[in-house]
Symmetry: C2
Subunit: 173 residues, 2 copies
């Protein structure tokens, strides 16, 4: 057994014995700086976000919808590596190319019948492997059934965002 295969088996055993151990909470704290430039803190990590000049920003980083694609691509890759290890399938490399299409009339409120988010995401997972095609098809199905970000995008997630007002002092409307 590889180290990763052992880790996955041990984690599965721990979660079966005590489902409470499987309950995870992830968090983000972000703040808008100048213009559309924002910085998100995720534990000790920082991600810089901005819009390109064509969308009114200063291009200090990727924009939020690009981060969505990065999250999906990297989640697919991690899930391929984890499931290849768990299933004992050889996998020498994995990379993902994705494209997402947005009709910006949605965000800009030009046509309220147009959704503001992605109309669709398409792409390709490139696997480097000596395993036969039917085994890689089995791997693909296991990955797509268990990839967290694919589930988050393909299926609705309940989102509740409250609002809190800090009064600006000494500024007139």
């Amino acid at each position: 057994m590889s180290h990763l295969q052992t880790l996955i088996a041990e984690t599965q055993g721990a979660f079966r014995a005590d489902p409470g151990k499987a309950q995870a909470v992830f968090a983000s704290s972000s703040r808008l700086e100048e213009g559309f430039h924002s910085v998100a803190a995720l534990r000790d990590h920082r991600v810089t976000v901005d819009e390109p000049a064509s969308l009114g920003g200063t291009d200090k980083g990727p924009n939020p919808v690009e981060l969505i694609l990065a999250a999906l691509g990297t989640c697919q890759e991690i899930t391929y590596r984890a499931y290849a290890a768990a299933l004992g399938i050889p996998l020498d490399g994995v990379r993902v190319e994705l494209e997402g299409a947005i009709d910006l009339r949605g965000f800009f409120a030009v046509d309220d019948s147009v959704r503001p988010g992605y109309q669709g995401i398409r792409g390709t997972v490139h696997l480097t492997s000596s395993a036969p095609p039917d085994v890689l098809e089995q791997l693909r199905q296991a990955v797509n059934a268990h990839c967290p970000v694919l589930d988050i995008l393909a299926n609705p997630v309940p989102v509740t965002i409250d609002i809190a007002i800090d009064r600006a002092v000494g500024k007139a409307a």
Copy 2:
């Protein structure tokens, strides 16, 4: 009119005149390095992704589901700034705190009735503004109706990912 307000009005006019100009495509190219460490390229920007040690990684960056929260928080912030400008509502600051809950039995295939993605995302938008509460409520409704990432998470996105196999040379299964 502020510079941003003018930019938004001009963009709306251009998209009304020619909806073809509103069709945007965003792209991501990512590749798994060692372990669960991956790097995503988004135009000229790079985002480093990894899992924390508790999930088998080396913590070189946020993980994919944390990127989802960063995308939502920063997209809310950008959309608040854009709509505050468009509607002429004073907004001196905006920051977002988010939390997402995942039952890891989904990802680890311990219980296939458990979804692998977020069961829910909750949080708070903190606005610094001198505007009256009813005006900020109007702003909140406009933002939540037009925020691309909120739409992407709260509603299903069609995702199609093909698979391509590069044969590993000189490696046995």
